[in-house]
């Protein structure tokens, strides 16, 4: 189908849109489309489907489908009569989730979920999208593409999670985290017209050295931590002020903070080609110094574990993270633990800070305050740095609590977020990209609210709060 003549671009994107390519036109178009389970059309007030910007419609469905809208008054989206029912059913089964599980996590009733999986039934696109997101599918391409771009390897990993970890609750939460990571990557690409800079281009190469009998994995972890600091231009004495910002803003890695079952600390998760970190805000991570350790540990995995070790999913329990690096028997975890502690607090600088205070307790607390290091980690790190020449029993403090300054920096984006109806997993950088994308005319208000999981009214009345948290000025937006 040849097109892209001016008249046709005017027709599809409106004569007020600017540019010579469909992409340029879509970015400046005020045209709104609306989709249902089976069709795409130009928006009308009576339509009950999902309203999409011209950009969303073009990126999701392609130019031929938009042309079809104007030729036939609507475009057919369903690729087969069985879609999207088959994709939703198969994916749920692949993940090992029941209809009841999906209904619970989406807030829908079981009939809605069953109807969506019935190819003979037309279901509201709003319901279909909710289910698709909960199953880590690309809700945009649902109906249009069998499988809706779901990552089959992720599904397999989630289905075969170790029995000690596995629960339908955790699988659902990891699916949500995978969806957020994938969508964050997509929004970034839309906003900046290119994907985030690859970690390898920043200088982080996967490292398959996990040590040997003479050179334990934890030593390699320390070495990698020093390399990482060098690449990031952070000196040995400098504390990492905010792990959240470093991961999200400097390294452009999707970070999902969420509420996992109590024993789970965090996970690295790959959805397609997108690798992200997800961290529990509950349990021991409620203390942001512990959370920083978890984040640094996951970062160690993500920066340096080769694909065969990272696989598609790596779930870490608090019990794994809270051991001294040399106490961890799994060499992959041992290296990540050592990376985490030395990345946050390089050993030489740690000992200098410790020795700057006369008493052990004061020195320990100063190390915690200086580097934002958890009590357990700081104790072992100092003890090891002093070649275990002092008693571990002397390294104790009464007060393990973090300071407000550290807590504020790490938790600001989630604690002060509005509206409250937005789940923790969608706060932070993800929410900022959503708001920026809407301001750039790439998303409708309805899409923005759907991505954040809140109502349009809630979104509208709190958009200034989100902008403030994200530091987005009106001028920029």
């Amino acid at each position: 189908m040849g097109l892209e003549n001016i008249e046709e671009l005017d027709l599809i994107f409106g004569p007020e849109s600017k540019g010579t390519t469909p992409q340029e036109r879509a970015r400046s178009s005020s045209r709104i489309f609306v989709r249902s389970q089976v069709q795409l059309a130009e928006n009308s007030p009576e339509a009950t489907g999902r309203r999409l910007s011209a950009w969303e419609a073009l990126e999701t469905f392609g130019l031929d489908k938009l042309r079809e809208v104007f030729e036939y008054s609507s475009a057919i989206l369903s690729c087969t009569a069985e879609e999207p029912a088959q994709t939703l059913h198969n994916r749920r089964e692949d993940l090992g989730l029941s209809v009841k599980n999906v209904a619970k996590v989406t807030g829908l009733n079981e009939d809605d979920v069953e109807n969506a999986e019935n190819p003979k039934t037309l279901t509201s696109i709003h319901i279909i999208e909710k289910i698709a997101r909960a199953l880590a599918l690309d809700e945009g391409t649902i109906s249009l593409t069998p499988g809706a771009n779901g990552d089959p390897k992720l599904a397999m990993r989630l289905r075969t999670l170790e029995s000690t970890h596995r629960s339908s609750e955790l699988v659902s939460q990891l699916c949500e985290a995978a969806w957020v990571s994938g969508k964050q990557y997509e929004l970034f690409k839309w906003l900046y017209s290119s994907p985030p800079v690859a970690l390898t281009a920043k200088g982080f190469e996967p490292n398959s050295n996990y040590g040997n009998a003479e050179y334990p994995a934890w030593k390699q972890g320390y070495w990698l931590a020093r390399q990482a600091r060098k690449i990031l231009g952070v000196s040995e004495e400098q504390p990492i002020k905010c792990m959240r910002e470093l991961i999200e803003d400097d390294l452009e890695i999707p970070l999902v903070q969420t509420v996992f079952p109590e024993t789970i600390a965090g996970a690295t998760i790959a959805n397609g080609s997108v690798r992200g970190i997800t961290v529990n805000t509950k349990g021991h991570n409620h203390n942001v110094w512990v959370r920083r350790m978890t984040l640094a540990h996951e970062l160690g995995h993500l920066l340096y574990d080769p694909d065969e070790n990272l696989k598609k999913l790596l779930v870490d329990q608090y019990s794994d993270l809270e051991q001294a690096p040399w106490g961890q028997t799994d060499y992959v975890e041992q290296r990540a633990n050592a990376f985490a502690v030395d990345f946050l607090a390089p050993q030489k600088a740690t000992i200098e800070v410790f020795k700057s205070v006369v008493d052990c307790s004061g020195g320990l607390r100063k190390v915690m305050d200086t580097f934002g290091l958890s009590y357990t980690s700081a104790r072992f790190h100092i003890w090891n740095g002093l070649d275990r020449k002092i008693s571990l029993d002397d390294l104790v403090v009464d007060n393990w609590e973090t300071t407000d300054e550290w807590s504020g920096r790490e938790s600001f984006a989630i604690d002060y977020f509005k509206p409250d109806s937005v789940p923790i997993s969608k706060r932070g950088r993800f929410a900022c990209l959503v708001v920026q994308s809407m301001a750039a005319n790439l998303l409708t208000e309805e899409s923005a609210a759907a991505y954040l999981g809140c109502s349009v009214d809630d979104y509208r009345s709190n958009i200034d709060v989100i902008r403030g948290i994200c530091g987005i000025s009106d001028e920029i937006s």
Partner: protein, 184 residues
């Protein structure tokens, strides 16, 4: 003497006034060229004319091309109800390669338009897919299906008639067979 479906559309015409075609998407001047009988146009009557091409509406995007070969366009025009295969079989050259609804009217005012399949000699299925004379409501589309059914009864020629129905999500007539398909 065949019964003209158009003669059963007077109530429809009263309820759903004629309007100018929406030509916003018109690309080529020949989209308003009035085709004639020699080019495949015929008046919709029962019993149907000889030589009808049989087929069924699509169920999805995958079978749309197969279904296109048997797809007729229909228009409730001011005094007629012309019908023609969308894809011309006589080799006539239109720039877009197929008919549009304004080729059935010459670009003048009309009431309602859509697509039609003769699934067999006794089954007619319609939808309201037209960018030029789009049905304005679900009732407008259903009204045409009922008028066709009335014509079959007046002709004493037993035919079942179905409308593909309306998609509330996109607020447009459905172009594929779904649970919304309604036999009148």
């Amino acid at each position: 003497m065949p019964t003209r479906v158009s003669d059963c559309c007077e109530t429809h015409r009263e309820h759903y006034p004629a309007r100018e075609p929406n030509l916003a998407q018109s690309q080529d001047p020949d989209e308003q060229y009035q085709v004639g009988q020699s080019e495949g146009l015929f008046e919709f009557v029962f019993p149907p004319i000889d030589g009808i091409t049989f087929g069924a509406p699509p169920s999805s995007d995958t079978d749309i091309h197969d279904c296109d070969r048997s797809k007729y366009l229909w228009v409730v025009a001011l005094t007629t109800l012309p019908v023609a295969l969308e894809h011309l079989t006589n080799g006539m050259a239109l720039k877009r390669g197929r008919l549009t609804h304004t080729n059935l009217t010459g670009g003048v005012d009309a009431h309602t338009a859509g697509e039609l399949w003769f699934r067999d000699s006794r089954t007619v299925m319609i939808n309201g897919a037209s960018s030029r004379y789009t049905p304005r409501s679900p009732d407008e589309l259903l009204s045409v299906a009922q008028a066709i059914k009335s014509a079959t009864e007046a002709a004493g020629y037993g035919v079942v008639v179905a409308s593909l129905g309306w998609d509330e999500g996109s607020n447009k007539p459905l172009r594929v067979q779904t649970e919304k398909l309604t036999w009148v």
